[in-house]
């Protein structure tokens, strides 16, 4: 593929310092993720999935190796540049939704635009369109506590999308949701990947959820144990 990979990891390592000495979490991860890929990362507890996601999301720094995002060496960026990257290039979807409890859904979705310096006259309509896109237009003035978990996760996806990122990082996005809602959320992610070409990296421990992706990476003990394509799903997906 001529295009530059979105993510290129080379011998990435991460250890945490504890009183008993360094505890390695990621030992040697090398991985390329191309534009418009949908990658699922699986692995047992403690295999380093979440740590890898935090590093990919520029929320945490690696201890060794290199992480190149769209051609830029992330290790060489300062805090403000990292914040900028999170703001403009990456959207997060968390297991716990992580919405601001006191802000309306509209304000929650508009948050990245605030930090991007988008003016109010453009910010709110854009956030409103994004809420409509995930099917929650009528709830714009509600608070997160007033809607269901599945709806909250859709708000979180709207927030992740509002600044038109190239990469969405979803860390156990369906972990707190029932099966039906989970499939709805996965449908939405798949649609974004297929129709808008957004690269998606998904962490899950549920093979059914992972089956939505086009590629599966297995992590064991901080290393890539398996990396391969998944069979393309039949288009007639379960109803959303």
């Amino acid at each position: 593929m001529p295009a530059e990979p979105v993510i290129r990891l080379a011998h990435l390592g991460k250890h945490y310092e504890t009183g008993a000495g360094p505890v390695p979490v990621l030992t040697d991860v090398s991985l390329d993720i191309e534009p418009a890929e949908f990658v699922a990362i699986m692995g047992p507890s403690g295999s380093g999935k979440s740590t890898l996601m935090n590093i990919l999301g520029c929320l945490d720094a690696q201890s060794g190796g290199t992480y190149v995002f769209e051609g830029r060496d992330v290790g060489a960026l300062n805090r403000d540049q990292l914040a900028d990257l999170r703001n403009r290039a990456i959207g997060f979807v968390f297991q716990g939704f992580n919405l601001l409890p006191r802000a309306t859904l509209l304000d929650n979705v508009a948050l990245p635009l605030v930090y991007a310096g988008v003016g109010k006259s453009e910010r709110l309509p854009r956030a409103g369109r994004m809420l409509e896109h995930v099917g929650l237009g009528p709830y714009a003035a509600s608070l997160p506590g007033q809607i269901s978990g599945g709806q909250q996760q859709r708000v979180a996806i709207a927030r992740a999308l509002v600044n038109r990122p190239r990469l969405i990082l979803a860390d156990e996005p369906t972990g707190n949701l029932d099966r039906r809602t989970s499939q709805e959320i996965m449908g939405l992610l798949r649609q974004l990947n297929a129709e808008e070409g957004i690269t998606i990296v998904l962490v899950t421990h549920d093979p059914d959820i992972a089956a939505n992706a086009g590629r599966l990476v297995q992590l064991v003990d901080g290393q890539v144990a398996h990396d391969g394509q998944l069979p393309r799903r039949v288009p007639g997906r379960r109803s959303a």
């Binding site: 929320l59 914040a83 703001n87 992580n98 919405l99 006191r102 948050l111 605030v114 930090y115 991007a116």
Partner: protein, 407 residues
Amino acid sequence: MKIGPLLSEAWQAMGANRLRTFLTMLGMMIGVGAVIMMLAVGQGARDLVDRSIVSMGRNLFVVLAGSATASGVRLGTGNVPTLTLGDAEALEQVPTVGAVVPILPGTAQVVYGANNWGTNVLGTTPRFLDVRNWRLSAGLPFNDSDMRSATQVALLGQTVVKNLFGDEDPVGKTVRIGKSPYVVMGTLAAKGQSLDGRDQDDAVLIPVTTAQRKLFGSQFQGSVRFMIAQAASAEAMPAAERDMTQLLRQRHRLADGVDNDFSIRNLTALVNTAAETTRTMSLMLGAIASISLLVGGIGIMNIMLVSVTDRTQEIGIRCATGARARDIRLQFLLEALILSVVGCLVGVFLGVGGGLLVSLVARMAVVVTLSSVVVASLVAAGVGIFFGLYPADKAARLKPMDALRYQ
């Protein structure tokens, strides 16, 4: 990042915990209110002293006739007639001295029609009015020719006018002082109380020559009890005192080693002491009040620190969506600033209201100055920023990862 969304977010955050917000602001309100009130009380006291200084006149000395010792009995000052009109004229020629006003005081009964009033009668010269900074409210002062010929004319203070004339216009009327008739040439403007509480308006001025020859004449032939001397300037006061002492010793033919038969007192020094005292008092009041402002600021810091801990996860979410360290810092700083500014505004009202209450209840002079309000507000805003900085910085330094994971 724009201030607009930050403001509304700060407003939301404070609204989410109203009691805490109010209690935090309370510290600021009391602090600012106390500072403004205390400064107002201090300013009131200073204004009172300043008015007394102006009403007395500036750069003044009192030259008192000396004390005499008769057979071991030491009499008080002014009992020996050592100062004369000649002394006054001679002192006035000294370059460091601006004006010298001889005074021969006494008390006398003043009668007009059916009314009579016992008052202080001062025999003096026309310059008395300049030196004491005293204007006439009606009529004309007596002049030098009145002095030379010892005319029986008088200027009445407002208290005397009120007691003898009521609403009647006294100028041109004739009153009896002691046993002789005097024409009222004018009335003195009201001057109020002196620092020691004497009514300065309860006085009648007549030419010193008239007082010597006709009213108190038998007691002090050609002499005066004391003189008020005004130095040419504030800087010339020490020189004036030295020059006057020298000249009077010479005129009184006092040999070296003989004590002065007069004494010179620096009136301004006394008043300066009073001014200094009130200044110290208002500084002290302000300092005590400032401590409450400081405590209010510490309250803000305390609450902001709690707030940062409470909202760690929120900070993490903001970081994940692209907030930079300075966005986070600005947000918490703005909250601290709003707390202190709103607290301060209420405090200004409390302070001004409290000042008015004090002046009503305690009958004290209370002067709220604009500068005290401005200074208190600026200090409050400064305190808010200063004590908001540390918590805001703490919030901004959180690692996005740790903040997100915090429960």
